[in-house]
């Protein structure tokens, strides 16, 4: 699979602050590429440099081997993290406005079908719900039928149902062989959508790979949780188990052995919860911060 984008030695400085610190990675064509990290990690700055919106202090971004030029806006689609739209225009008028900017826009019918806009096509922008608004912003990002799509925290602030709907839209778009670059706070989102991820912290890439590769690299165990009131203190101390919010966390490489041990100690298993490590645990492991905690 060929490279869609190659980022080489990218650095961005704002006076005394280094927002992005000499990072390099490649995005494969047709892949969904995730940039993960907490607020201020440098994700948005990185993709805005890739989009040609802001300039890098150092380094370069190559699209299929060529540097970014003025025509890049014809080839990429962007959904920004914070974007207001002209309040008094309807969804249909907004689509028409943005269509006029491009040489070969998708037809409105196609966009409406792709992003499921039919139900609110004649509604004013300022009357849209969070999910409807994100779908419109996605349609605007797709209006020029781009090969590469940038989505900057597209589901932040949406309810779980709207998030799931949005994920399905992204999967449909990905199935059309589009390359997607996604930043997110939500690890379940990254696990669900991304083929490759990089984890950023303080402007640097601290890990990269596929979600599966990274989880198996750092975690060969599962987490078992029990209410603390059911586990005697001397057993917690003896096994050096962690006490997290009224629950005992047991890291286990073999669930069967651990359960046998608990039963041998006559510890009741009511309220037992078993969880595999996820990207949130990975981030906690790599940086010492929980993503949700800092969010």
């Amino acid at each position: 699979m060929s490279e869609a984008i190659c980022v080489q030695g990218l650095t961005k400085k704002y006076k005394d602050i280094t927002a992005v610190d000499n990072i390099s990675f490649t995005v494969k064509e047709g892949h969904c590429f995730g940039l993960l990290g907490r607020n201020g990690a440098g994700k948005t700055t990185t993709i805005e440099i890739m989009e040609g919106i802001i300039n890098a202090t150092q380094g370069q971004v190559l699209y299929q081997g060529k540097p970014v030029d003025n025509n890049i806006s014809q080839q990429i689609g962007i959904q920004f993290q914070h974007t207001a739209l002209q309040d008094k225009l309807t969804v249909k008028e907004t689509l028409n406005l943005f269509s006029s900017f491009y040489q070969a826009p998708l037809s409105q019918d196609e966009l409406v079908a792709l992003c499921d806009l039919d139900a609110f096509l004649n509604r004013d922008n300022h009357k849209l719900s969070g999910g409807q608004r994100q779908r419109l912003l996605l349609a605007l990002a797709l209006i020029n039928d781009p090969k590469i799509l940038f989505l900057d925290e597209p589901t932040t602030g949406l309810d779980p149902h709207a998030r799931r709907d949005f994920w399905q839209l992204i999967k449909n778009i990905k199935a059309k062989n589009k390359t997607i670059i996604l930043t997110t706070h939500y690890m379940d989102e990254a696990e669900h959508l991304c083929d490759d991820i990089v984890v950023m912290d303080q402007g640097k890439i601290i890990e990269s790979g596929t979600p599966h590769q990274l989880l198996t690299k750092y975690f060969n165990e599962v987490f078992i949780y029990l209410p603390k009131s059911q586990v005697p203190d001397n057993i917690i101390k003896q096994n050096q188990w962690a006490n997290i919010a009224g629950r005992v966390e047991i890291k286990s490489k073999n669930i069967e052995n651990t359960l046998t041990y608990l039963m041998s100690k006559k510890i009741p298993l009511d309220g037992l919860h078993v969880k595999s490590a996820n990207l949130d645990d990975l981030f906690l492991h790599l940086t010492g911060h929980s993503l949700r905690e800092v969010k």
């Binding site: 704002y14 802001i54 806006s73 225009l89 406005l97 006029s100 900017f101 605007l140």
Partner: protein
């Protein structure tokens, strides 16, 4: 420059304005209410004192003249040419014209004020030849109309363009547009022409609508008036673009726009003539675009001036427009850096 992109933004901005009912209503109602208010409050000529025009360059009769010029409640205004002064007299803008070099004075036989000022004047100057003038009285409403429309135009141009651009910049509408092939030039030009269209449409609507009720005094060319209005609006929009060229703060821009608009509202001859004002104030007012818009429009409407007659105001508006536009184009920023 892509015309389709320009026209799409132009059209979108017009739709936005026309659907913003509170702004639209205010733009229409504010000047109409002012005009109605003035028509009731100043049903007379609206001037508190007598005004006497003096033809400049005269030195004769200095002692007696000095004594006369110290008369209370009479304002003395210098005129370079006799024609200008007698025109003002015939429009009831002033009450008497004195040319002491040739020992002549003019009164308006249809003005009660002129009659009274003549009584005071002729007590002291018995050797002057009397000339008569007459003409339709210019109501304060007719006089103030170009000022009210000009002021409305000024607020619409300054706040409608400058404030909107800063709001667009602050809430990232500009950033979203920058990510498209739309150029800054196309965007700015569309904002400019959209507002130009809106202010000319609204001003024409108010003028024509109110003309049915008030029958405004207009002896000049409507085409000339249109040209001055377009040029004035263009200049004010350019000034607004300059103020809004970089800022991301609505508060700062609001302050700057107020700082720009208030001196114009007070000193550009919207409400009262600056003819008798100190020279320093008149010089300052000359740097304000609205001064030239109002003076030009007023000269066309009341004096029947042609574009050639008001070329001074036209040239200044052109120069100001070029300067404001060039600097704002140079400074304009989408401001996408956080």
């Amino acid at each position: 420059m892509n015309f389709f992109r320009f026209f799409a933004v132009f059209k979108a901005r017009n739709i936005e304005f026309l659907r913003d009912k509170s702004s639209l209503t205010w733009s229409l109602l504010f000047p109409i209410l002012l005009l109605f208010g003035f028509s009731f409050v100043f049903s007379g000529d609206g001037r508190p004192a007598y005004k006497v025009g003096i033809i400049t360059g005269v030195s004769a009769d200095s002692n007696t003249q000095k004594q006369f010029m110290e008369t209370q409640f009479i304002e003395f205004i210098n005129y370079k040419t006799l024609n200008t002064a007698t025109d003002k007299l015939s429009h009831h803008t002033i009450d008497l014209v004195i040319d002491s070099q040739n020992k002549q004075y003019w009164i308006n036989t249809e003005s009660s004020k002129s009659y009274l000022v003549e009584k005071i004047f002729s007590e002291q100057f018995s050797n002057y030849t009397r000339f008569k003038s007459n003409g339709t009285k210019i109501r304060y409403l007719d006089w103030v109309l170009p000022g009210v429309l000009g002021m409305n135009m000024m607020f619409s141009c300054l706040f409608g363009v400058g404030y909107a651009i800063v709001r667009y910049r602050k809430n990232s509408v500009l950033k979203r547009l920058k990510a498209t092939p739309l150029s800054a030039f196309e965007f700015v030009l569309a904002q400019l022409f959209s507002r130009l269209f809106i202010v000319i449409f609204i001003s024409s609507f108010i003028y024509l609508g109110c003309n049915f009720i008030f029958d405004f005094y207009m002896i000049g060319s409507y085409l000339d008036l249109f040209i001055v209005s377009v040029l004035g609006a263009f200049c004010l929009i350019s000034l607004s673009l300059l103020v809004a060229s970089r800022s991301k703060s609505e508060e700062l821009t609001s302050g700057l726009l107020n700082l720009t608009s208030w001196p114009m509202m007070m000193l550009s001859g919207v409400w009262f003539s600056l003819e008798g004002a100190p020279q320093a104030l008149k010089t300052f007012a000359d740097f304000l675009p609205l001064t030239h818009v109002v003076a030009g429009a007023r000269a066309i409407m009341i004096e029947g001036a042609s574009l050639g007659d008001i070329s001074y105001h036209i040239n200044i508006l052109l120069v100001m427009s070029i300067v404001f536009m060039s600097i704002s184009a140079y400074l304009f920023s989408w401001n996408t850096e956080r």
